[in-house]
Symmetry: C2
Subunit: 213 residues, 2 copies
């Protein structure tokens, strides 16, 4: 499986190469595979599974449920970091609105390749993990206004050509109108920041799950 | 045309009766009619047309455009007050999110009877007025955190049975997921308020338009 050339300031491939060249490199194996397929063909048991800011790339809520179910025989613990949909720092409000705008648009594409394909809240992620036999052991919400993702996700939504892209996939004027209103709400939240401020990122949610025995 | 029994602390009908019984009553005529039909059958010219917090009840963006076009031969000035989709007071953030959540759901109903059917931003309203031959003369954004609409609109969105209603109209799990994420973002914005605080209302936008000669 090809490693996508994404990531900033280093791509995923660069980061993996860096870790493999370091002192722990000999103890790390990066498996580039679909996790559900990989787990089905393996009987390895892991101390912990980590889903780090990756859930919003998933194709659908049921893809996450399938992943949790595939993990259940392989680990007793799952640690998750994901965007929380809250902004305790006002610099992150545009990020919340941009993420929801992108989600409202991406769900209308048959195949989305966006950074944000499936926006799930901490409550909904917890619900799906519970459906797969895990229980929430601990959770935290951590302000993360200086992460660059706010700027990255707000940028395309407020751009002049975003709506032309929406019109390629959505025809109904009422449905386009909703995405346009969300886009304008994102623009206004960005415009409300002090002159020098760039959009920050929303809070991060950390959830620790264990097998519910 | 029946006057809907809406309005708090007084219904629309009570407010109209109160005004008609007052000193200006003899100079007021309330016409209960579809405005586009009424204007088509009339040659009256008015000093000013006022659209006061009513646009979000409209069935679609094109209904507003038709209304602006119908007004053009009858008035040289339109004054508009509408929710701005901005919250300069943080108590209004949940209102912004609840309005967008309702819009995302209502656009999927063939006939919506919600308070919020078509969410249009100040920018979009201005665009539609311009298409109808008016130009923006002046505009203001006014904080209005103590208006009750924030509480009214947030309430149903955060309620336990909102999603059951969504599932009656929307089938695709990705599309339901977006509305659910918006609902949870609204809940979080409400929960982030100080313990005693109730959700406030977002800012109000005031736009004054004149015929573009």
């Amino acid at each position: 499986m090809r490693v996508p050339r994404v990531g900033n300031p280093f791509t995923l491939e660069q980061a993996q190469s860096h870790l493999l060249a370091g002192p722990l490199g000999g103890r790390i194996t990066f498996v580039r595979a679909d996790p559900v397929e990989y787990l089905a063909s393996s009987d390895k048991v892991f101390d912990v599974a980590v889903l780090a800011h990756c859930i919003w790339y998933f194709a659908s809520p049921s893809t996450l449920l399938r992943t949790f179910k595939a993990l259940a025989p392989h680990t007793k613990k799952i640690c998750i970091a994901e965007w929380s949909l809250t902004a305790s720092d006002s610099r992150g409000i545009a990020h919340v609105l941009a993420a929801l705008t992108q989600a409202a648009f991406e769900c209308r594409k048959p195949d989305s390749e966006s950074n944000i394909r499936t926006v799930l809240s901490p409550r909904r992620i917890t619900e799906l993990a519970t459906d797969a036999g895990f229980k929430l052991e601990a959770e935290w919400v951590i302000p993360s206004p200086t992460m660059l993702d706010g700027m990255w996700e707000v940028g395309p939504v407020v751009s002049a050509n975003y709506l032309a892209d929406v019109r390629k996939y959505v025809e109904n004027e009422r449905e386009i109108g909703v995405i346009e209103a969300m886009q304008d709400a994102t623009r206004s939240a960005k415009a409300a920041l002090p002159a020098e401020a760039k959009p920050g990122a929303m809070d991060t949610w950390i959830g620790v799950f264990v097998i519910d025995t």
